[in-house]
């Protein structure tokens, strides 16, 4: 396949970026999208040009590092995949592909297609944990009875890899799907109940401080999420928040 790529280039967070056009040929339909980017970068390096910076790590849809906005969609046109799981067979010979970084004020561009998603880390640090005694007396989680549906829902929420596709896809750059998944995975389990009140209040507070937008229930996040995190989690977070607001001192 021969493709035309329009790729966002930006030297660093201080300068303005813009789209640059590249042509690439001999692209195999069996390549992953990141492999195609690797080939392009090889060509750029051989020409003495600066290769395109993009995030990647596991390349098997687990780590949540890859983060491109491809032809108007986070992680490209396929469903339930990350960019590393997207294959070039999803495109046609002669296609023009526009590649931009995930855009949100809370995700500033570091370079080219690499964005700083440490705002997610700070939200996690605000309450996305349980305080347990790790001195050797920790209770075996398997000995705590948990209703099957709750365990399944908690696991579904915990599959969120924190890639930020929800933020990138949302017209408001809202992070509520991510935060609600993290709130839900603890709220559904007995271990998480002890700190539930402060957790949801603190995580939402941090989310707002990071400059994410408000959720308007467009549902774009759920559709674009590579892990299929459901909007049910946002409804659960809203209930948790309402209850916590009333209970908190």
């Amino acid at each position: 396949m021969k493709l035309t790529l329009k790729i966002w280039r930006q030297a660093n967070s201080k300068v303005k970026g813009k789209l640059f056009e590249y042509s690439i040929s001999d692209v195999s339909p069996d390549m992953s999208f990141l492999e195609m980017m690797d080939v392009l970068n090889e060509e750029l390096i051989q020409k003495g040009d600066d290769p395109i910076a993009f995030d990647h790590d596991c390349r098997e849809g687990i780590c949540g590092m890859c983060s491109m906005f491809i032809n108007g969609q986070a992680h490209g046109p396929d469903r339930l995949v990350t960019t590393c799981q997207l294959h070039m067979r999803k495109f046609k010979d002669g296609d023009t592909i526009t590649i931009e970084p995930f855009r949100a004020n809370a995700f500033p561009v570091i370079k080219d297609l690499v964005v700083d998603r440490s705002s997610f880390e700070r939200i996690q640090q605000a309450g996305g944990f349980i305080s347990i005694n790790t001195s050797g007396n920790t209770q075996d989680a398997n000995s705590i009875p948990i209703e099957k549906n709750d365990a399944d829902d908690a696991f579904d929420a915990a599959t969120c890899i924190g890639c930020g596709a929800c933020v990138a896809s949302c017209k408001n750059a809202s992070a509520m799907l991510f935060v609600s998944a993290k709130v839900s995975q603890y709220a559904l389990l007995p271990q998480g109940k002890v700190e539930a009140t402060n957790r949801v209040l603190n995580m939402v507070k941090q989310m707002d401080e990071e400059g994410f937008g408000n959720c308007t229930n467009t549902g774009a996040c759920e559709v674009e999420c590579p892990k299929g995190i459901s909007l049910e989690n946002i409804a659960r977070m809203n209930r948790e928040y309402l209850g916590a607001s009333i209970k908190s001192k």
Binding site: G72, N105, G213, N214, G219, R236, N238
Partner: protein, 217 residues
Amino acid sequence: MISSSVSRKITMAISGLFLVIFLAQHFTINITSVFSEKTFNELSHFMGTNPLVQFVLQPILIFGVVYHFLMGFYLEIINRSSRNIKYSFYKGSSNSSWMSRNMIISGLVILSFLGLHFYDFWFPEIDYKYLKILPENPERYYEELVHKFNNPIRVVLYVISFVFLALHLLHGFDSAFQSIGVNNKYSIAIKKGTTIFSLIIPLGFVFIALFHYLNHG
């Protein structure tokens, strides 16, 4: 409490649900004008003169309307400013409905309509009752209604507004349940019910406007 994004969302939903209830009540009274002049006059007279409606429910309604649109504008400003550099290619239609992405547009049309509607009915009513303090005539309401729908331009503006009301409700009514935390086994039934309401009520208002224009215009 409304300092956080979640609480703003919840209050937006509650005010919206309140306005939906008002809409259903307004429609119920208006549709009687198609079947019975007498019933319409009686109901309108009751609503226009009952102290509980006039001095308790009406101020609550005005607060609900003002809160809903002021918060809507505020949220729109915050949301737009949360992404300073826009995408050069954003394919919103691939993952969300036009209605859900453009609530501000349908909302602005409804707000403009409210201006016209107040000019047509509410301001003259306030003038009649509280400024000129004219003697109450329980028979006047039907004539006032019919008179307004003589004008084809007004009828067209009303019909356009009701179309946008339907678009606003198609996303907003169902979305309000999600905002207050209702997303469960009943959600499919809620979605169907809110969709039917969102189509029936605005189309019913269109019918009323066209009925009076065609029969009395």
